[in-house]
Amino acid sequence: MFFRLLLESLFRQRRRKLLAATAILLGTATVTAMLAIGTSVGDKLNHELSSYGANILVTPKADTLDVVVGGVSIRPATAGSYLRESDLTKLKGIFWRNNILNLSPELPLHATLTQAQPSQPATVPALGLWFHHTLHYGTESYAMGAPAMHRWWRLQGAWPADAALDQAAIGSKLAAQMHIAPGDSVALNGEPVRITGIVSSGDATDRTLLLPLALAQKITGQPDAVRRVEVQALTKPEDALARRNPDSLSPALHDRWYCSPYANSIAYQIQEALPNAQAEPIRRITQGEGTILQRISGLMWLVALAALLAASFAVAASMTTAILERKQEIGLMRAMGASQFSVASLFFAETALLSLLSGALGYLLGSLLAARVGWEIFHSTIAFNPVLLPAALGMALLVSIAGGAPSVLRTLGMQPAAVLREDG
């Protein structure tokens, strides 16, 4: 009988209940969406922001002792001027390895480029790079390279294969100047090389030939050599501690410094891992990333809170009128000997059912909304977060019970005669 009564009365006062249900639905949908976005926006935005390039530059230590005479470096090209490509694996062994998103080693050189049709050979700047290099560390492997580091590079054609010694990509201006199209064969220092793609970057790369690192090492005769490495790492915004000199810190502070993903401490660890390397944070966007993130998730929480508040008021208002309209019914049940408890449980069960239904729908809607927003803004979906379902249901339940309870309890507290007297 209880469930029969529950079901029958659930579909009563459809307009009011629809109103309350809509308020709950919209409230939970907004909160779910905001929380879903808020919890994943951190990662997404971090990736998004840090996709704008490197934030740590690693160079050989000898470089810092550069001897410049009359604007010309007279530093001898000693072995110390190079990093070892094979050492880069070590970077995935440092404490903050998971924060290191990408590595892009570079080896600059000059080479003689000759087109297939007999023409003047030209000496052009070239750069040895990883394109889609697979870095193995233990059982894991990571895809890394220059294209991911420079997201703004536009490619026409394909990237050279990292292992290929007869492939290259060419900067757009150089290509235009020398009338080279993707697929053309050219000679590089006399060796045949096929141009796989044309790159436009808007910077000096447009006038550069891009070679697989292995080819560049072969041409320079420096196997395993790397001139510098760009590192893209997720970092924590710089604060007072970050700027301290780690060697001057107390052991406890040093530990804290070391275990915070500041650009500085990651750079410090890179230096530890690569003995003759110098790692320097590049201050670009890194600085602002954290602050933006904090502001955005703060905003999300605020919107979520506002939505919840608005929903509670709407629910409370419509629950109150819905129950006042049914006062007669309450009085009647009491006259039939129904205890306050059984009447209250009936009304609360109905409220709970209504709010759980609309809360579940709200969760679905909110998740869809979050996924949609994720797609629009980050071009990646925000997965349904099952943890938010109980949160959404709990919220819906709380809001509606809190909204309906005062009027139910007040009516139950009255003498049944007084309730029956009042016209519903």
Partner: protein, 240 residues
């Protein structure tokens, strides 16, 4: 005479109201709906309560049915001082002892005739659909079980209320103007039901404006301004 004799000879009366006063606070000062009403009703007696509008008839019946509490005075029903009961005990007591018939039929609008009766069973103890159907049939509505109140006439709705009031076999039946909203034919049907119940031994307290209805009762109590102004027994001439 007879009342004194009965209470002296038999066991305690079924209903014993003593010095009942009910005041309502209002902006214009307190309204005294009942003023020192003392009344004894025997088991199986049929009492009609009459009086002008606002004289306190409904207030009296509501207090009798434990739907309201007196400001002063005591209500003893079947040896129980109602005032001594806890909330839960009072709910239980109401479910066990009293059946209500109201002037405005007071059916739950979204439940069918049958379900309205089942509801009374549910709040009392357990639902028994066969029994509920028999109760509907006994008021001549066996074929209207699945109709909603809005699909029934006033008289039919009132008959559902009677079936509902009786389903738990309460010893006391309280009826506040049960025929107030009915035409002559339906009034006749309701009267017939009440007569049957009276013969079956139910105690009936009935508010009415209609002298013809009142003439069916064993005794008529007349209220004026919250006081008992006159009491008549059907077989005797007016006392007092």
């Amino acid at each position: 005479m007879a009342t004194i004799l009965q209470s002296a000879v038999g066991s305690e009366a079924l209903i014993h109201l003593h010095g009942l006063t009910r005041e309502y606070a209002s902006r214009a000062g307190a309204v005294r709906a009942l003023d020192q009403v003392t009344l004894t009703i025997e088991r199986g007696e049929w009492v009609a309560v009459m009086g002008p509008s606002g004289s306190g008839k409904s207030t009296l019946v509501n207090i009798l049915g434990c739907l309201d509490q007196p400001t002063h005075g005591s209500v003893r029903i079947a040896g129980t001082d109602v005032h001594q009961l806890s909330r839960q005990e009072l709910d239980r007591f109401r479910a066990e002892t009293i059946g209500f018939i109201f002037q405005q039929f007071h059916l739950i609008p979204y439940l069918t005739a049958l379900e309205n009766i089942l509801l009374a069973q549910y709040f009392h103890s357990m639902t028994d659909e066969d029994e509920a159907r028999r109760a509907l049939a006994s008021v001549g509505l066996g074929d209207r079980a699945t109709h909603l109140p809005s699909q029934l006439s006033g008289g039919e709705q009132q008959r559902v209320c009677i079936a509902r009031a009786l389903i738990n076999q309460p010893p006391i039946l309280l009826a506040d103007e049960p025929t107030g909203n009915l035409d002559a034919a339906n009034q006749e049907i309701v009267q017939e039901h009440l007569r049957t119940l009276h013969r079956a031994g139910h105690t009936i307290v009935m508010v009415t404006h209609d002298p013809e209805m009142a003439s069916l009762a064993d005794r008529t109590v007349e209220l004026h301004h919250g006081r008992i102004a006159a009491e008549r027994r059907a077989d005797l001439t007016a006392q007092k």
